[in-house]
C-alpha cells in the first residue's frame, strides 16, 4: 500500500479562501518536506520539517511523528498558488525521500 498518502487528490478553491492538505504516513517518518510543482514542472521546496510546525507567509505546516501525519495550510489563496503539492517523508534517517501522489490545487479568480 501507499507509504505516503495525500488527501485530497485534487482541490479547487476561490481566490482568497483557505485550504488544508494532509499527508498520512504508514512508515516511521523522521522528517517531512513539502513541495509545490508549478505548471512549468519545477519542484519548489516549501518546508523542511522535523516534528513541530513552521510558518512562511501565508503557508503553515505541521508534522506530528507520533500520529504519523503532516498538514499544509494555505491562507488567503492566490492564483500563483496553483499547482501540484507533494509531501515527502524520510524514513529512519535513511536519506531518501518517499513521495506522496500529490494534491492538484486549482485557484479560481
Amino acid at each position: 500500500g501507499d507509504k505516503v498518502k495525500q488527501s485530497p487528490s485534487a482541490l479547487s478553491l476561490q481566490e482568497g479562501t483557505n485550504s488544508a492538505l494532509r499527508c498520512n504516513f504508514s512508515i516511521a517518518a523522521t522528517t517531512v518536506q513539502w513541495f509545490l510543482q508549478n505548471p512549468r514542472g519545477s519542484l519548489i521546496n516549501l518546508f523542511y520539517l522535523v516534528p513541530g510546525t513552521k510558518e512562511n507567509g501565508r503557508l503553515k505546516s505541521a508534522f506530528d511523528s507520533k500520529e504519523s501525519y503532516s498538514t499544509l495550510h494555505i491562507r488567503d489563496a492566490q492564483l500563483e498558488d496553483s499547482g501540484t503539492y507533494f509531501c515527502a517523508a524520510e524514513h529512519y534517517n535513511q536519506g531518501k525521500l518517499i513521495f506522496g501522489q500529490g494534491t492538484k490545487l486549482s485557484i479560481k479568480p
Partner: protein, 114 residues
C-alpha cells in the same frame, strides 16, 4: 546563486540507444539525489551520493541504469539500451548533506524513448 542545473532539458532517443543525463548540484551541497517522475508511478527515488560516494542505489533498475559522481560539481545518470518504459522526467536534487536536509530540485530532463 544558481540552482541545480540539469542538461539536457529534453532528449529523444530511439529504442536501444544510450542516454546520458547530467546534473550540476548547488555549490557547497554535498548530497546529490536522482529521482524519476512519471504519470503512473509518480516521483520515485533512484539513487544518491554524499561527498561523491554512492550511498543508496536501491531505486535503480539493476541492469541498464548507472550513476556516477566523478567530482563535487557534477553527477551523471546513464541509461543503456533505452526502452519506451524509461520515458520519464529525470530529476536531480541536492542538499547540504546534514542528514538529508532541505532538498532543492533542478528543472529535470525529459527523456522520450521512441
Amino acid at each position: 546563486n544558481a540552482g541545480v542545473i540539469q542538461t539536457p532539458r529534453h532528449k529523444v532517443t530511439g529504442k536501444g540507444q544510450e542516454a546520458t543525463l547530467w546534473c550540476e548540484p548547488i555549490s557547497g551541497h554535498s548530497a546529490v539525489f536522482w529521482y524519476r517522475q512519471t504519470i503512473v508511478q509518480g516521483l520515485e527515488f533512484l539513487t544518491y551520493f554524499r561527498n561523491q560516494a554512492p550511498i543508496d542505489d536501491s531505486g535503480m533498475p539493476k541492469e541498464r541504469f548507472s550513476a556516477q559522481m566523478p567530482n563535487q560539481s557534477h553527477s551523471t545518470l546513464k541509461i543503456q539500451s533505452t526502452q519506451p518504459q524509461d520515458s520519464a522526467v529525470y530529476l536531480c536534487a541536492s542538499s547540504l548533506g546534514q542528514n538529508t536536509g532541505q532538498l532543492y530540485f533542478g528543472e529535470g530532463s525529459k527523456l522520450t524513448v521512441l
